[in-house]
Amino acid sequence: MSEPLKFHFPVSGGDFTSAGKASVQVKKLLRQLGISPDTIRRVAIAMYEGEINMVIHANGGSADLEIYGDHIKIILADTGPGIPNIDLAMQEGFSTAPDNIRSLGFGAGMGLPNMKRYTDDMQIDTEVGVGTTVTMRVNIA
């Protein structure tokens, strides 16, 4: 088994102008690696939603990408407030984003649902007051 290709991206908190930077970089990177456009789109969208979540709720965090032969793993980790009720957070339209964030077009309550929809597997490890780690897998088509 060969080692996966690994990439690490810091995500800075409260910075909406550069939010999405890591996802756009990842998109370019995967294109250079010859990954199919559909797979790239799924990885980039899932990662963007995760990045935005960390910017809004957790004052930033980190995004790690691991590329294996048949799948891509995305690990988003933060030391934010944690998610008290995952079932509720997974409902489309449920959002705890503040009004100033909503005025920017965020806070639709679609972030986590989109992440689940665009990936083949998603695990959320969260502890209130400690942080959240979301691990996603996208199979390479």
Binding site: F16, T17, A19, Y48, G105, G111
Partner: protein
């Protein structure tokens, strides 16, 4: 229909150059970014009144052919610069999103 023909027929203002004259087969309208990210498809023209920099990430990640700003909404020079740099076509019209959708639907019939 080609994007250039839509621009012509709907008399749209071209704010940033088209990187490519893509084929457009439909449209999507909405101002909530995750909604657009989740539902728009890559052959759709996105009609919105949002003009902040985050629309560029959505357009780029979702591979949209162009973003059409409705209601003549003002857009910062910094966002235009970034759109040029990222090769994202930004269009604008004084008409409402509703009118633009209706006109686009009519064109694509």
């Amino acid at each position: 229909m080609k994007l250039s023909e839509i621009i012509d027929r709907l008399a749209l203002e071209v704010l940033t150059p088209l990187p490519e004259d893509r084929e457009v087969t439909g449209g999507y309208t909405g101002d909530l970014l995750s909604w657009v990210m989740g539902r728009a498809e890559s052959n759709m023209l996105w009609i919105t009144i949002m003009t902040n920099v985050n629309i560029l990430a959505v357009a780029s990640l979702r591979d949209l052919p162009a973003v059409l700003i409705a209601e003549g909404a003002e857009i910062d020079a910094a966002v235009l610069d970034k759109a040029r740099e990222q090769e994202i076509a930004l269009l604008r019209s004084p008409k409402s999103a509703y009118t633009l959708c209706a006109e686009l639907a009519d064109l694509l019939k």
